[in-house]
């Protein structure tokens, strides 16, 4: 196979970040003494450079490497979400890892490599690229989840690994069946095959393929009933990794879902939308109801991330470009509010003690006003209360669902949203309405400058995209125009 410079152009951002990852590893090896505080910033520099090479990708769809990788506005939009996720994760990790005594170059390199995997997932126009990207991402994340090497971290990593491997198997089997049915694993090719041969849509092999691919993705986005790994993996992993998993993996997986379901399976909407309807409802409801019962904020956020996957699935069910644009918006909003919330969680912890039980937050709102303000903002945004980005995201997704006539799903969605208010507010209740216990759990915040910067950036993002969403909505719609 040959490829041209034009192909390489599509791969520039990925190459830049891969280079940054290698550089980080190399830098530690040649660093004199133990000075390695600059490593995460090396990674961020890589992400910034990659971001500068990306805008060229906005515009009409192009594809390179013989239809393996797309260079379209859709991919570019998701890349920017991922850059935000990557940069914020590195910022959050900096002080955290040093405090925990685990600030090794491998961590930063793994984050960057996982990021490359995520980007390839978003750009993949071929199921094989998609699968390889998924594995690249996943393997890096398995390692990251176990990075603290204590019992819980190891358990998280192992659970995620076992179930992740399972889901990869499902996905791969589904891809194989699709290949059998359609004779190709190119996304456009699958679309053409289904469009030209109407009988194909009814064939057991094709439908089984679609089903297995659905299951594979459902594992990755933590849709109920394929969500069992999520709470343990999210709770046990280092908090910065949890933030990264919840936002980055979700963004990449949903980008892939959009490409596969909105393009390749476009003509089968009748078949898969009913299944996803049920999945969306279950995911929202189980996620929210279980989150209500949690007494640990980190675990609560894990369940809440399941619920958020449910809202996004509502958009997938709607299946229109409008819904796709809403999903992209939601993913970005979710990245800001979720990483922000996890950053706040890291701040209340200290070495070896995460302090993520709800009670640890009692009275913190007044004791640390900035932390209280930030955490409240993120909680309100996750609950979807204006004027925050979380509200606009939900608004766009529900708007698209109503447009397609999914009134009931939307009504279940908003009722879920109302139920979720309860547990998000409970954090605020604890922070502001309850007095600090006599023996304070949190004496001081673990807030270095990088952590503060990350939280402020996330907070500004949540507010900015909540108040002036116009430009971003247009970009997201443009991104979808070239996809479908």
């Amino acid at each position: 196979m040959t490829f041209s410079m034009a192909d390489m152009r599509l791969l520039t951002p990925h190459l830049v970040i891969t280079a940054a990852a290698l550089l980080v590893l190399l830098a530690e090896a040649v660093s004199p003494g133990r000075r390695k505080g600059y490593l995460p910033y090396l990674g961020i520099a890589g992400i910034v450079v990659a971001a500068f090479t990306t805008p060229g990708l906005f515009g009409p769809a192009r594809s390179g490497f013989s239809g393996m990788l797309a260079g379209d506005a859709f991919a570019a939009f998701v890349y920017f979400i991922l850059y935000a996720v990557g940069a914020l994760t590195l910022l959050v990790s900096d002080g955290y890892l040093r405090d925990e005594g685990r600030d090794h170059a491998e961590y930063y390199a793994l984050v960057l490599l996982a990021l490359v995997g995520m980007m390839l997932m978003a750009g993949a126009t071929h199921l094989m690229t998609l699968f390889l990207a998924l594995e690249t991402m996943s393997i890096a994340i398995y390692a990251l989840a176990g990075f603290f090497r204590d019992e819980r971290s190891a358990e998280a990593s192992f659970k995620y690994f076992i179930l992740g491997a399972f889901s990869s198997g499902f996905l791969l089997y589904g891809i194989a069946l699709l290949y059998g049915a359609c004779g190709t694993t190119e996304i456009q090719g699958i679309l053409d095959a289904f469009a030209s041969n109407r009988a194909l849509a009814g064939s057991a092999m094709a439908l089984a393929g679609v089903g297995l691919v659905t299951v594979g993705f459902a594992f990755k986005v933590a849709a109920v009933p394929f969500h069992m790994w999520t709470p343990d993996a999210y709770q046990g992993a280092p908090t910065s990794v949890t933030a990264f998993m919840a936002t980055g993996v979700k963004a990449a997986a949903f980008a892939a879902v959009l490409r596969v379901f909105f393009v390749a399976f476009q003509t089968l909407h009748v078949d898969w939308s009913g299944v996803l309807w049920v999945l969306a409802l279950l995911t929202m409801t189980v996620g929210n109801l279980t989150a209500i019962a949690q007494t640990d904020v980190k675990r609560m956020l894990a369940y809440s991330s399941i619920a958020h996957a449910g809202y996004i699935l509502v958009g997938v069910v709607a299946g229109t470009p409008e819904a796709g644009a809403g999903i992209l918006y939601y993913l970005l909003a979710y990245a800001f509010m979720n990483i922000g919330a996890f950053a706040c969680l890291i701040m209340v912890g200290r070495k070896g003690h995460e302090n993520t039980e709800l009670d640890a937050f009692a009275g913190l709102g007044f004791k640390f006003p900035a932390l209280g303000l930030a955490m409240s903002l993120f909680m309100f945004s996750m609950a979807g209360i204006p004027p925050t980005a979380g509200f606009i995201g939900k608004f766009l997704i529900f708007k698209a669902a109503v447009h397609q006539g999914y009134y009931w799903l939307t009504i279940f969605g908003v009722l879920n949203s109302a139920a979720s208010v309860y547990y998000y507010l409970r954090v605020i209740v604890t922070m502001y309405f309850k007095p600090e216990p006599d023996a304070p759990v949190v004496e001081a915040l673990r807030a270095g400058p990088s952590m503060a910067v990350a939280t402020i950036l996330a907070g500004l993002g949540v507010l900015y995209f909540g108040i002036v969403p116009g430009g971003l909505v247009d970009l997201a719609e443009q991104a979808l125009r070239y996809l479908v």
Partner: protein, 524 residues
């Protein structure tokens, strides 16, 4: 827009004031209070210009400002007021000043308190002036946040429960309304119009009666929870009893009015045929609310709770007026909304006065207060009279108009509602008797100080308003005439225009939704 942007100025001035407040050091509590008062007062003064410059001959929107916001979705920053919102806006700015004064004694976290207060004012004003459904929704929801904190941090012993209940109740209703707003948006597009959330444009959309029926139900739920109408009122007594005094005043004075305002501005003109269909039901519920609220108020042993339940009863009157669907009823309903803001607001202030001195609100703890606090007793009695509708005071005008309107529509409803007036006299006067008259037999009550200068300061304006609105209602009603006439005219016209519309299959859109698996038949 050539004129000065009055509406944006008064709406965002408190927000700006709140941001500046962040810079004032926490320790200078006097400075914080003074600054908040200044911001609220300036906002009030500017809002007076609205009153002066409002053209009473015009029924349409005035002081309109418009700016594209999210163009691709047809969402704009579109504000304006008419005779319906004018007085509610003024009531809000007026009560805000009063509330800041009444909160002078707050000692716990003054800075945050004042901060939330100013944010609340922005939220309320924004909701009252919005003419874009999304803009309205955003203010409507955002308003919850500061109120939630006011109850939750500065409230009584059960404040957490009350705050959460308040928030979630309101949220459930509003979210369902959001679905209806989105449905309305698409029905408008499907009718061949440009995508827009512009309320005035959506007024012109004629919908089939059966479609209206469900849309109205969703809007109605959101607003009826806020009003609150029986049986959705249970959050109110909790919120009221737990909220700090100023919180209760704003809650009763403005937040509840958001519900009645929502009916007048959104639910009723958008879905007139549905209103017609729902009206008998709503009138029955309103009358039940009147009587139920009054009966429950009668057996309360806590003064504040009594006032809270009296709100349920009073708001029942307002709703009865609105659903009488004639000039007298609607105008009476609107007027009674304002009255309730003044008299119930003042009652909460008065309860706050005594609570500050005695730290109890139980009726049984008092008795003979007229002897130790004669001025206080006098003011209390005046406001009580205003609340129960004594002629010459504000409550009478509103109740009279409502009764008149209700009588024209349904004699039965008017008769039953009238018992509510009698019951109101009963529970209020009985409470006054037990608190103020009889023997001053409790030792703690003997040395109580009468009203202070500050308390006079915020009570006098309320008493003046009660008299003014009672003796010369023309000042206020005149500015609402043109708007309400136009409102009714449009209501009738739209109702006629929609009557003949047959939906493509009864409840078609609902069935689409019920058809779980696939609804795409009307994708456009």
């Amino acid at each position: 827009m050539s004129h000065f942007p009055y509406l944006s100025t008064i709406t965002f001035l408190p927000l700006l004031g709140a941001l500046v407040l962040l810079l004032i050091p926490r320790r200078s509590e006097g400075g914080i209070r003074a600054w908040t008062l200044a911001v609220a007062a300036v906002t009030f003064v500017i809002s007076l210009a609205l009153w002066v410059r409002f053209d009473p001959t015009q029924g349409g929107m005035q002081f309109v400002e418009r700016k594209a916001w999210i163009e691709s979705l047809g969402i704009s920053y579109y504000v304006g007021i008419d005779g319906i919102s004018l007085w509610l806006v003024l009531l809000t700015t007026f009560l805000s000043v009063i509330c800041v004064l009444s909160s002078w004694g707050i000692a716990k976290r003054v800075k945050e308190y004042m901060l939330f207060f100013l944010l609340l004012e922005t939220g309320m004003l924004g909701a009252l002036i919005s003419l874009d459904l999304v803009l309205f929704y955003i203010f409507w929801e955002a308003m919850l946040i500061p109120m939630y904190f006011l109850i939750g941090v500065w409230g009584g012993t059960d404040r957490i429960y009350a705050a959460i209940k308040f928030f979630i109740y309101t949220m459930v209703g509003s979210l369902l309304m959001l679905v209806a707003i989105l449905a309305l948006y698409y029905l408008n597009i499907r009718a061949g119009n440009a995508p827009t959330f512009d309320l005035l444009k959506l007024y012109e959309l004629n919908l089939a009666p059966n479609v209206q029926f469900w849309m109205f139900a969703a809007f109605c739920l959101a607003f009826a929870i806020k009003v609150p109408m029986w049986p959705l009122h249970t959050w109110l007594p909790d919120a009221h009893t737990q909220a700090p005094t100023a919180g209760s005043v704003i809650l009763a004075g403005v937040l509840l009015k958001m519900g009645t305002y929502g009916f007048l501005r959104f639910a009723m003109p958008l879905f007139p045929n549905a209103v017609e269909a729902w009206a008998p039901f709503m009138m029955v519920v309103a009358v039940i609310g009147i009587i139920y609220g009054a009966l429950v108020a009668m057996v309360q042993d806590d003064v504040k709770k009594l006032v809270a339940y009296s709100s349920v009863s009073h708001l029942g009157f307002v709703m009865l007026g609105l659903f009488a669907l004639n000039m007298q009823g609607v105008q009476g309903g609107l007027y009674q909304s304002l009255n309730h803001g003044i008299s119930t607001g003042a009652l909460f202030l008065l309860v706050g006065v005594i609570y500050e001195r005695r730290h109890t609100r139980a009726i049984a703890d008092f008795g003979g207060l007229a002897k130790s606090m004669p001025n206080y007793a006098a003011v209390f009695l005046i406001i009580t009279m205003s609340s129960i509708g004594l002629p010459g005071l504000n409550g009478f005008v509103g109740e009279f108009l409502i009764m008149l309107g209700a009588f024209l529509t349904s004699k039965t409803a008017a008769v039953f509602a009238a018992t509510g007036v009698i019951l109101a006299a009963g529970y209020m006067l009985w409470m006054v008797k037990r608190v103020f008259f009889g023997a001053l037999d409790k030792e703690e009550n003997q040395g109580l100080a009468d009203l202070t200068g500050l308390e006079w300061g915020y009570l006098i304006p309320m008493v003046v308003m009660a008299f003014w609105m009672g003796i010369y209602p023309g000042t206020f009603l005149r500015k609402t005439d043109a708007t309400l006439e136009l409102w009714l005219e449009r209501f009738e016209a739209k109702k006629e225009a929609c009557r003949s519309l047959e939906a493509p299959g009864a409840l078609a859109w609902l069935q689409d939704g019920l058809n779980l698996v696939f609804p795409a038949s009307h994708a456009d």
